[in-house]
Subunit: 409 residues, 3 copies
């Protein structure tokens, strides 16, 4: 699975979190590795193993200046590419300076997110997400920590069936049919699933019978190895979520919301910065959620009785609670999967098959090679009850990759 993951670019941090040129580096744990992130004097971004290749002192304490980061132990200095620029403890002509390199990963800034390539060989093209082609003021990205395995965290997103419960209000309160707690979810709590495989993952279509004898279809996207898209409310921003392994037992969530057609508005930006709606509330200046496992997500048992189904504030915190409370790595032998878990099953199968193909037969995953496969959207519509969502132009025209989409490479 590690080899599969490393066939792809890995989203790492948001642009806002990257230090300015010549400022001190920040730490980052990604795919189980401890790294430092910094910008050199020219503003180029370096992502290096935290430990100096000499005797492993941490480069977090290093001096970032004059074109590279210098370990304070013996003054060895490295460029953003990992080249040793200076090795003052060796004689000037020593071949050791060119032979020793810091572990450095290619890094690219695009769409408000830093992408890192941690695999072998040349980096593939970046996945051509729609937001990568947009101006900065059309995009908002945030990052937070989740206390469980990335796959488990992602399951909480692919699992559409929970929406009518976990994020709902108590029955006494009447909601708006246009909201997550709305009429569609209330009318049919056991959605029908249709999984449509794609070369980079699958479309998870889930349909709910409406009061009018039609079916409300949501089409979520799963894109290998850990991307999800769910359809926004009408008029809301598009979004992509990224469930990035930090270690085997923890993950990063990066959420990008964007407007394809216009700059973001002050009001939506303010809400997102506050951790509302699509994003998650964190302790300011950190990636630590305010509602989290070790404070029982600040559950309000009175509110749970009288207002919201969970008593926990924030849709994101609600999702995190169900995923994290199952344990860091859930014991799957004790699960009982039902018909509502079709997308979860499809995701597990897709990843395992890709990992086997990649690890055992050396097959590079298609998604990593064909960036336009990521130029897709999640979407939703209402169809006649018996229409197969795959036959719906309304759904498919939005969901399928755009022809002629720009690539950045």
């Amino acid at each position: 699975m590690g080899k599969l993951m490393r066939s792809f670019w890995t989203p790492a941090v948001t642009e806002r979190e990257i230090p300015a040129a010549d400022e001190p580096p920040v730490r980052l744990t990604l795919l189980g590795e401890n790294l430092v992130v910094f910008r050199d004097t020219e503003g180029r971004i370096g992502v290096l193993d935290e430990h100096c290749p000499h005797r492993a002192a941490s480069l977090f304490f290093g001096r970032n200046e004059e074109g590279g980061i210098r370990c304070v132990y013996h003054g060895w200095k490295f460029s953003v590419e990992g080249e040793c620029l200076d090795m003052p403890t060796e004689a000037p002509g020593s071949p050791m300076r060119t032979r020793v390199r810091a572990v450095a990963y290619p890094a690219r800034l695009a769409g408000g997110v830093l992408w890192v390539y941690m695999g072998e060989g040349d980096a593939p093209p970046l996945p051509d997400f729609e937001f990568l082609g947009l101006p900065d003021d059309h995009i908002y990205a945030s990052r937070w920590e989740q206390d469980c395995n990335y796959a488990q965290a992602m399951e909480g997103e692919l699992d559409s069936a929970h929406v009518g419960f976990l994020h709902s209000l108590v029955d006494k309160i009447e909601g708006d049919a246009q909201t997550l707690t709305g009429q569609y979810f209330r009318d049919d709590k056991a959605p029908t699933w249709k999984i449509v495989p794609t070369p980079a993952g699958f479309m998870a279509c889930n349909g709910r019978r409406t009061a009018e004898g039609q079916r409300y279809w949501r089409l979520n996207q799963f894109l290998t190895p850990f991307y999800t898209m769910i359809p926004p409310h009408p008029d809301d921003a598009q979004l992509v979520r990224m469930w990035v392994p930090m270690t085997d037992e923890r993950c990063w969530v990066i959420c990008v919301t964007f407007r394809p057609d216009r700059p973001l508005g002050d009001k939506e930006l303010a809400a997102w910065r506050n951790g509302d709606v699509a994003h998650r509330k964190v302790v300011p200046g950190t990636t630590v959620p305010t509602e989290r496992k070790d404070n029982n997500y600040l559950i309000d048992r009175h509110a749970q009785k009288t207002q919201s189904f969970t008593g926990i504030a924030g849709v994101r915190a609600q999702d995190a609670m169900v995923c994290e409370s199952a344990g860091a790595i859930v014991d799957r032998t004790r699960e009982h999967l039902g018909s509502s878990d079709r997308a979860v099953v499809a995701m597990r199968r897709t990843l395992i098959e890709a990992a086997v193909a990649c690890g055992d037969r050396g097959v590079r995953p298609e998604g990593s090679l064909m960036p336009h496969l990521y130029r897709v959207r999640a979407t939703q519509t209402v169809l006649p009850e018996d229409t197969d969502p795959e036959d719906s132009d309304a759904l498919m025209a939005t969901a399928r990759p755009k022809e002629g989409a720009a690539t950045q490479d």
Copy 2:
């Protein structure tokens, strides 16, 4: 040993700690399993695996209402017996609803304590402790945590020889012969032991030569798998202590004090609620002792020099200190057992033999099948120096199971 433990009812929490009907559940770790405890709308008590059988989300965050607890992830709802009452994400007629059950353990409230049966097959009768037949106002029960294996914790209670040291005052202070620090313990610090096996454990008789050429005998009860009784001071309440495995490295202590003949008095109740005498002082609203390992039991070294043998406040904290400070699971190969450790040796042997019989030969322990064996008391008396305590009617009449004792089943 796990199989042996699970042949018995396990005391779990005190009645006071159980939430009211339809109130949020509480967490409980017992025999290494994470559970939730709640009362349904009719007041029936449920003890369920904390993790929902669907995808393992914690039922601690569940909604307890209308006859069962509902997982907030997908709305699956379970009765106190573990039956799935509602599985709204599946089609109404799905056989899955009746096939899937939550792990639920039979629970019984008796004597101010909740008892849980975590074993196979039908639950046996409850052990017929004397206090189980008493009115509520004759009984006070409390519960606290101890930071070591249950067996080790229990050894601190069975070990009568330590009383003359651990709980004593410094020699300069003259005590009252009627107290734990009294004359009997001071006159003879190397008690004689007589272990009298019973079908459910043993009576640990320990005798101390008195100044008058007689012998003061204490008769402690050990009842499989983890119950102890020590004789109270004259006119004090009877007591049972339960040393219940939480995990391999921690245990719960449940202490029940009771008056067979009358309601409890305000004064003794106030002392017990304050964690004095037979009970332990805890941080209010928790099961965490105030004097504990990570604060060195608030040892007062000046008091240790001038007043009490340990400088630690509270007999219970003193016992916990010696047991916990040996480590979570003591390395028994480094021990040197002496003649004062007869009861400890007998307890280990009794449990190991019962575990072998139960695990290897499938023998259900007698204690679990014959509830009247628990209708016994610890007691004490003074006998002529050479009298065998087993020949003393005064001791045996109190200590032996009562004939015709009521059973609750």
Copy 3:
């Protein structure tokens, strides 16, 4: 390696830290063992296994009085030699009292430091460090914790090449040629090494070409198993540092500074007590450094840009940072050793060879048997560029063991 370590005396705590006679014991972890240290009524020092040999209760909570330490559990009492002085729970004549002993290690107070012998057989003579023969007012010793393996910590001291970087000021600030940040270190950052083996370790000579075409030589001492000496500035006190294994992942550092020729001055004592210069700043009353791993050594990034190379206060904290930040036990397969690491390589080789000889062939290390080998000094001088330091009488006369040095045994 454990057997090798235990062939030597182990320095344990400073004299100041040892409780007075009949005062409560203190805890000490040494070579992975939990111990207690106390003085009996006559002032003799005991170093005993923390756990009572009876049933493992902690002797830390014991009563230290009337010639020994008494376990509060059952009153068993032990002398500083581990002899059981009283076993009141056994009959007076019981052979058990003489058979059972507490694990007790021989302890000697010398040179302001408590030395403990944790090996087999008779204790060898103490290593005859120069300061062991001095009056108390010539010596100052301190002790602190380091969060990594002892070998790794020691490498930070043997590694002379880092001095011109880690402990330097930023280039804009002109230093004094006589200081650590001085001209010699600035003129030649890639020192030449000459390792001179000795029967107890080696002399690590490192030379720097000076502006005047000469070479400035520093001669550091490594003495098995974990002693280092570095040359002081002219007129500064001599020093010995001891890198003592606490566990596999942590170590104690004991630093002794001394004046062979006169009592210590008030000014230097005040600085050392404050944790300056050769010693380390700690939280008062503890061995916990103020600048430490879990607070990022209080790094001041502004100071790092404008004043000191690291932005971390204190030469000792700087050394600890590079050693600890590499991890508790560094993964040596990822290192790239260069010509500057000759002393580190020599130390590893010396210890491994000695451990193999001791463990496999039972060879007692020479250093443990010949105390005068420790009567040496680190030193420094300036020589003509091509002079071999081993041929320099100025260096060798100071560095070699003194003939006729006093031994304390």
